[in-house]
């Protein structure tokens, strides 16, 4: 026989350590940012700072996690911002409708469920374009990127919809243990997605498809369904993020809700360790990436750095974070 001195199979803990190590670059960047802020930024070490940052980062984090799944299959989703706008536009339409005002409880429930269903429909569209019609993801999702926001504006006639609805606003302003509700929501989603990616059939197929789609298909993997699935999940999460934005503001602005979110989400996913060619789905990495992007934004704003200079600094930090990521991997 060839080789007999096989080492006893090591527990798979090693794989988890390896995954953690990959995230190291991001962790280092985050710690550097925290230390810098603690030293420089006034009043940084306060609970309220934590509160503000968590409430602002939650939407990016939620969308970035969905994006991470899409990227893990080798795809990309540019339509997340538009989906946010669409879902966000629907919610007030629903709870402010005649039925919604007549039955407020039902109205709020419907105003959460129906927009999410609309988002799911968008994801279905993206997924079918990519998986069934084999359109390249950037282009497939560009369609909704362009027209999704338009649909939202058509629905609202372009008007800003403002409202007062404490029950609905809980999504964006509620607190649990003194921290924002949406932060807990993001955490719960992360835990759920982490479980999906590491423990389930679906997660395994996601990674296999990103790693080698042909091989996954020939091994009997449901390639189409899984691909559609990730776009649906991503869109649903984007829809949820859209609802949160609307809830915080007590206003839905279809023109601005989720504007440029796709770039932030992709940047967060990649800074968090996602590989654009697929095959890797670091869910907590996405949260880490979102935190880094959020903290950069916060740092620059709080220290009075001008917007235009802030853009340049943000560029440099994204590059640095991804570069560190890159070297750790090799």
């Amino acid at each position: 026989m060839m080789v007999q001195d096989l080492p006893a199979a090591r527990p798979p803990r090693r794989a988890q350590w390896r995954k953690l190590a990959r995230g190291n670059g991001g962790v280092a960047a985050l710690i550097a940012l925290l230390v810098f802020n603690a030293l420089v930024t006034p009043n940084f070490l306060q609970l309220q700072t934590l509160f503000v940052n968590i409430s602002q980062v939650a939407t990016i984090a939620i969308v970035a996690m969905g994006m991470t799944l899409v990227i893990a299959t080798g795809g990309i989703d540019l339509s997340v911002g538009a989906v946010m706008a669409l879902a966000g536009a629907l919610a007030p339409l629903i709870f402010q409708s005649a039925l919604g005002t007549a039955y407020p409880g039902l109205g709020v429930a419907a105003a959460i469920v129906l927009p999410l269903l609309a988002a799911v429909a968008c994801g279905l569209f993206n997924g079918v374009m990519v998986a069934v019609l084999r359109v390249q993801p950037i282009i497939a999702t560009l369609i909704l990127f362009i027209s999704g926001r338009g649909i939202a504006q058509v629905l609202t006639n372009g008007n800003l919809q403002t409202f007062k609805n404490p029950a609905f606003s809980y999504l964006g302003t509620g607190k649990i243990l003194g921290l924002p509700f949406q932060g807990w929501l993001a955490l719960a989603i992360a835990v759920a997605l982490f479980w999906v990616v590491t423990r389930t059939l679906f997660g395994r197929y996601v990674l296999a498809i990103g790693g080698n789609e042909r091989a996954a298909h020939l091994a009997g993997g449901p390639v189409r369904r899984v691909k559609i699935g990730v776009y649906v999940i991503c869109a649903a999460l984007a829809g949820l993020a859209g609802l949160i934005v609307v809830a915080i503001n007590s206003a839905s602005d279809a023109a601005r809700n989720g504007n440029l979110m796709e770039l932030d989400a992709i940047a967060a996913a990649v800074v968090g360790g996602a590989l654009l060619q697929g095959g890797r789905a670091p869910v907590f990495g996405a949260i880490l990436g979102a935190l880094i992007i959020q903290l950069v934004k916060y740092t620059l704003l709080a220290n009075g750095v001008e917007d235009e200079v802030a853009l340049i600094a943000k560029a440099a930090i994204i590059l640095a974070a991804v570069y560190v990521q890159q070297t750790r991997k090799e």
Binding site: I76, L78, M129, L133, R134, V135, Q136, I138, I139, A140, L142, I143, L144, F145, I146, S147, G148, R149, G150, I151, Q153, V154, G158, R214, L263, I266, A267, V270, L275, L276, D307, E308, V309, A310, L311, I312, K314, A315, A316, I318, L319, V322, Y323, Q326
Partner: protein, 332 residues
């Protein structure tokens, strides 16, 4: 599609995706001519070409990047940045401003190339960062103002006057650039290396091709093309505009893909990219004319929906045409 490009039958057989865009373009032009008076007027033609020359040149630069399997998200911001540079240089005339702005664009391209080739950062992220940096930089160097050009030098001729009273200078220059680039891709080693990299970068390295050089070239080219667009922007609109260029990268990518180029690289066409850019530009023009007919007024929101729908239709059409190719569905 090399020397045989002119053999139409072969062309259609070998690149059905590209054929689709020409068909769609012809159909849309025909539709416009039949439905709207003045659509075919010289005024509309020249102003349409003048405006879209920017998108054409950017799309062709993008096409090269995409052929290597990369992407360049920075083109819009770089165009805005270089328009400011061109505006500052405009008193010295176009002979200084054009090279100056193009070199600036090439500089951004070199920066992208450095991050991608040396730092090994994925193109999507590297150029995303460059996009932010160029945008911020444009605002910084302009003091967040539009910068007036010098109307007394010959600078504005490029964007506002016609060559031989026929076609705007902008489109003439862009056409020349496109032609040269077409020859580069079809007839030079550099061009073929670009295609090979997109086909398989590993294989290209092992074949001993100058991969790094070709990759650096495409990003610098794309930056340079954005620089040309920046000059057209400054000279055609009389100002350096730090806020312009938002979303141009996506239009350019869409043009390239509608032109049948694979986003994964290795397969694509320069002229079809031009057709793609014209096609997407034409949608705006048609929508404006449709609004002018007065029968229905298409609101800005409906226009977005229609544009997305149109892109959807073109993609579906393309997918159908491509599906008929023998052996489709099998990778390779």
């Amino acid at each position: 599609m090399n020397a045989d490009a002119l053999d139409l039958r072969r062309y259609v057989a070998h690149s059905p995706q590209s054929a689709a865009v020409w068909l769609a373009l012809a159909a849309l032009v025909g539709f416009g001519l039949l439905r709207y008076e003045n659509f075919g007027s010289a005024y509309n033609l020249t102003s349409f070409l003048n405006y879209n020359s920017m998108f054409i040149v950017i799309s062709v630069g993008m096409c090269f990047v995409i052929l290597t399997g990369g992407i360049d998200l920075s083109v819009g911001s770089v165009a805005a940045f270089t328009s400011v540079v061109a505006a500052y240089l405009s008193p010295y005339g176009i002979q200084v401003a054009l090279p100056g702005a193009v070199l600036t664009g090439v500089g951004f391209g070199a920066l992208n190339a450095f991050s991608i080739i040396v730092l090994r950062i994925p193109p999507f992220i590297a150029t995303l960062a460059a996009m932010l940096a160029a945008k911020g930089g444009a605002l910084v160097i302009s003091g967040a103002q539009t910068i007036s050009v010098d109307w007394t030098s010959n600078f504005t001729r490029m964007g506002m006057e016609s060559a031989w009273n026929l076609l705007p200078w902008s489109i003439v220059i862009v056409a020349a650039v496109v032609l040269v680039l077409w020859i580069v891709i079809e007839r030079t080693s550099l061009g073929r290396t670009v295609l090979a990299i997109g086909g398989s970068e590993d294989a290209s390295v092992l074949m001993g091709l100058k991969v790094a050089r070709a990759k650096a070239f495409v990003y610098m080219l794309s930056g340079g093309c954005a620089g040309i667009a920046g000059v057209i922007l400054a000279s055609g609109f009389g100002a350096g505009q730090p806020l312009e260029g938002i979303g141009w990268e996506l239009s350019a990518i869409a043009s390239v893909v509608v032109g049948g180029t694979l986003l994964t690289g290795g397969l694509g066409s320069v002229p079809a990219t031009v057709a793609g850019a014209l096609l997407l530009g034409l949608v705006f023009n048609i929508l404006n004319f449709e609004n002018g007919r007065g029968t229905i007024s298409i609101s800005a929101y409906w226009q977005m929906v229609i544009r997305g729908g149109f892109l959807f239709a073109v993609i579906l059409f393309q997918a159908r045409v491509t599906a008929r190719r023998p052996g489709a569905g099998r990778p390779g």
